[in-house]
Symmetry: D2
Subunit: 388 residues, 4 copies
């Protein structure tokens, strides 16, 4: 039955995370150990230490792996709070791509794989990356253009190809690799990043800076992977990807919603204090309306995320719901961030507040995990087929 209330336990957890972010994470936002390619290792370690002590580390992972075993709706509430600081997801160990990788491993990996990779990931002892996107003419928005190959060779596969936009590659211990096995189709493999045959060519210069390790270009030069290191089954790469897909899209929505709320709070405070033309700027309708639009966009983004998360909790695959949420939320929070820059005026484009950072970091969200255009087309096709 329709209900928009949080359970007392969830409301309590929400409050705890909110306090943790305010007291333990935001004070570290000005920490100099952050570079053009994201927060650096020692800062990440300090953040996860704090979350560990607060018993908030890896809340999405099953308790037997050290997490809180949160359902998707619960994640929606907690991750929004985490996202309130760009460092929050790092602290709680729920940043991309590791959060989604853990989700995938939990769902698909063998017990041995879990022991070997999931546990240290959940403990924030190592990081991972997800090697899917390829430069032209490989797989970008269209996964079927997958060009990296994994050729069987006895008990091993030999992987060759090139990936880019590999978030967190620099510093990762684990690579999850999507490659095409001739005649058997797309397949996922697990490999230590330290393997001979994996070359981190370079880190890319991007507008965003919130992901540990930034985004790398990775080359597989005859990388040998044993068949025990296949994740899931041969030829099931895209099916596995779908396991990761809907939840991963949604957790982006959750985190960025928190960031947008942060920007909105900064802009609101400024609109109350800064005067122009005889009164606080917030009392000019031009600014007040932007605040109102923010409020509505945040509301809509939150409801949409919760509904899609709820569908996942009911056991649905949620492909449509997460696709829809991805577009609605990424565009709504972007509008919020853009308005906050505008309200702050010149300062909005500087590091005087956190807003410029949120703005620049958020831009890619309308693109990754499926650009708005690709999702719109998926939605359209479902409508035309009468599926929604």
């Amino acid at each position: 039955m329709i209900d928009f209330s949080l359970s007392p336990a969830l409301a309590d957890l929400q409050a705890r995370v909110r306090r943790f972010i305010a007291e333990q994470v935001i004070p570290l936002e000005g920490d100099p150990r952050q570079g053009a390619h994201g927060p650096e290792e020692p800062l990440c370690a300090e953040l996860t230490d704090r979350a560990r002590r607060a018993e908030l580390l890896s809340p999405h992972v099953a308790p037997d792996c050290g997490g809180l075993g949160l359902k998707h709706v619960e994640r929606a509430v907690v991750f929004e709070e985490a996202g309130f600081s760009l460092l929050g997801p790092v602290a709680l160990n729920v940043f991309a791509p590791d959060e989604g990788n853990m989700h995938l491993l939990e769902a698909v990996a063998t017990p041995a794989q879990k022991e070997h990779w999931l546990k240290p990931l959940a403990a924030a002892q190592i990081r991972s990356c997800f090697c899917m996107t390829e430069p032209a003419p490989g797989a970008g928005s269209d996964p079927n253009m997958l060009a990296t190959t994994a050729v069987p060779d006895g008990e091993h596969f030999v992987i060759s190809g090139r990936k880019w936009f590999i978030t967190g590659a620099d510093g990762a211990s684990l690579a999850i690799i999507m490659a095409r096995v001739p005649e058997l189709g797309a397949t996922m493999f697990l490999a230590p990043m330290s393997s001979p045959g994996i070359v981190l060519e370079r880190n890319m210069d991007t507008l965003d800076r919130c992901f540990p390790g930034g985004h790398g270009v990775v080359r597989f030069d005859g990388l040998r992977v044993h068949r025990d290191d296949i994740l899931g089954e041969i030829g099931q790469g895209f099916r596995n990807a779908q396991v990761r897909l809907s939840p991963a899209r949604l957790t982006h929505c959750m985190r960025w919603l928190g960031a947008a709320r942060r920007a909105h709070e900064v802009a609101t405070a400024y609109a109350r204090e800064r005067h122009a033309f005889g009164k606080p700027i917030g009392q000019h309708e031009g600014v007040g309306f932007m605040l109102a639009d923010n409020e509505m966009d945040l509301h809509v983004a939150r409801l949409t995320t919760l509904q899609a998360a709820w569908v996942l909790d009911q056991g649905g695959l949620g492909l449509h719901e997460s696709s829809r949420a991805k577009v609605i939320v990424s565009e709504a929070v972007w509008r919020v961030a853009d308005r906050c820059v505008q309200i702050l005026g010149g300062q909005g484009t500087t590091s005087e507040t956190v807003v410029a950072r949120i703005f620049a970091d958020m831009r890619a969200f309308r693109i990754y995990d499926g650009p708005s255009e690709v999702h719109r087309w998926s939605i359209a096709k479902r409508i035309l087929k009468g599926l929604v």
Copy 2:
């Protein structure tokens, strides 16, 4: 706890209303007994008869007044279904302003007033109008500019003033009148429309045609109303209006959401069938994206309406939530209607489908019950005060 499911009973009621609209109401949409000022009395009577037989009449009214006693969330579900046909709200007796007037009477009226006015209203035997809006320089978006006066004269009040945009005035039996009692403030009065001193000057020509009786200009020429016919208490006119306000805004959202869904279904069917440039037009991204945007707008409108209705069901006044919903929904459904016109091409602007009618009828929704600008400003003020 967060839950987006309908109870089995509500899902069943939804299905019944949907079937009723499809089988009993839509076939009457082409009925000629509809004019420039709305469906005519005999058609209205036939529609309400059908709903009465289907036991769906006045579902929002308490059972002791003949209704189904639906809560706000339940209304959201049922009214959306009703709105799927522009005649649906008339059939179920949940059209504006009568639906809101019944809600108001139920909350505020004396037992005698209920017996005299609410029961026949709930039975769809009579219609009512709500006399609030005034021509310049009186009360429009700004209710404090109320110019109509009610001057005490013994046991009576003598009401003088002019109102316009009085929906349903033509044909109404009951007028609920907002007037200012000198020194005591805005007050509501009940009066038969047949009273000497009430003059229906004319009906206005409007873009919309779905409201029985259209929109009238009403003059009070020394109308005498006995103090027993005060609705609520003297000076409590605006407070009473607030009782009506949030729910009435929301029921507009519900009904227009249904209408927008209808337009979307018509446009979708057309996009599947009509070919241009070598394929069904829906398979052109330009059209497909519009369908996808419709789907997202409808989704967001529905979630927002449900959430606000749920707040009312929890006992909240819901002023912020209904204000927010009014803006979000009125703008979202308008975008849907506009896109459907565009998808249908030339036909979208004609009576070949119901879409042009929905489009024209819906335009005023961004204005009445508070234009988007007034609501944005209310929201902004709450934000600046830290209330939301």
Copy 3:
């Protein structure tokens, strides 16, 4: 060399037309001889009489046909003034489709055809219609789906097919008919509407009401047309249509720009006078910003129209420029009309001002002469080919 000034002669003509519209046309706007399908014949005659006396009739036509021989830039200026009243284009005899038909006849017709048809058209003695658009599965946005056929039979062609959205069919004397001659392709024919074999099935109910004769459904039932009545050459139907296309798109832009300016002036006057919340509503930024956006949209629409007209005056076909102008202008003036409705509040949706009429009449402009989507695609293709 870049110059944005009007020549003295053009500025003078502009002033004359402006005065004519204000003094001779606007006073007739409330004339009752207007129905659901446009202004009626006697009113049209009175309007054109007035223009004739003011020596402003058919200004786009060559002097030897009774016009002023205006170039396209001059038309832009004059037609905008005419469009300031929805009756203005009727008065000056520059309404659609006749204005475009005259342009086409002037460019393509034989001397005999001009004598027979163009002269009385230019003198506003008769009206014409352009029979191109067909119901599904015929030619709509995609002209190549042309289904009406013209089968040779000796010196004649026998035309069979069905057209709709035929503006001005009811009351027209001349039909220009697009039909496909087997193996020879699309061809235009001239025929008296009174011919046996032409059936006006019905008039369509549309949102707009400004076109004399409304929009009809026309059936050709074995209509016999002599080969002397071919307009242009056999198989050159689409090429001829292109002669008409760019200018006709632009003259729509010109006229609707005038209408949008009118709506803006009405809204501006209201924003100055109507008070709410303590001051004239125009002094609320929420309204003031809408006025500013109107001003910018009108400016951009005017510049774009002038530039495209100038390209035509240089001898260009202007397909790209007129396509681009069609999208820019139709969307800009629509935003203006929509904002004006919003500024006027409830009144914006009624006949209390001319704005609701402009709003409703204008909606189809984003569709006819190529929906925005079709033009966007044409523009995209040119970009991809490196043509622009």
Copy 4:
């Protein structure tokens, strides 16, 4: 008379600049001598050397100061070409704020001041900054909040206050300072940046990086300026600022238009080459429509800039026209930049192309020289007063 053609001389100059940018400037875009605060001095010198050799340096300055004496329309054409590379305006010595400062000095300075400051500026031997904007509670969008004071002391004034967002402060030789002389009003002063009493507190971290010297925080600590170094007259500071205002707003429009065109060309090339879902992405309407919208936005931005420049060339102050152009162009080119990011997908957010840089650098343009909101309000006030 309306004319949209360039004179042969101007078309030739346009071609020369275009070639210069392509051959001499773009190859330096990857030069490492660029930092977080803009291109560094040696790179700037190399760029201006190249322009000097090409006889394109300081084209806006009068010939007797070493420039080409271009009128505003001519600047519109040339500066757009310069803006095609973010380094182009640096090369031609037409970047902000120096270009506007030179314009101001040329209009207002004494012969001695011109000799001392304008000539070396025009020769690109030194740089300058314009010290107007102040941190809260000083002058931001509202210039009347000017807090910096200049107190007379014999033949000198003692200036105290704090400025920020002072573009190019780091490395500038000349500061133009706006300060309030008690009782006499806002006044402009010229001072060497090396003066005792001028402290560059720090450089701000901003999203943009294209301005030499970045944006500084400058403090005046009892800076002594001789009355010979007043620019213009005492109390005429705001009047002088208006001399600079309209042209400076417009030259921003010109340069950013060039940058947006560049982004569009990069995105177009990508849309032609990159395949997804079976064809080049540009052949998907979702992408094609974005290209078409770019084309229309660029067109509208160019026309609007030219028209406003033409008004200046006619001797008008152009306050309304430049205000309108500022909003139209800044918002149009921003939409272009944003779409180009989206078309490029992930790459759009990286330094793989120049687009991410253009996107980030351009964001502040909707804010500086008057945020869109302030201009909208100015436009609205003019409309309400019947001035436009």
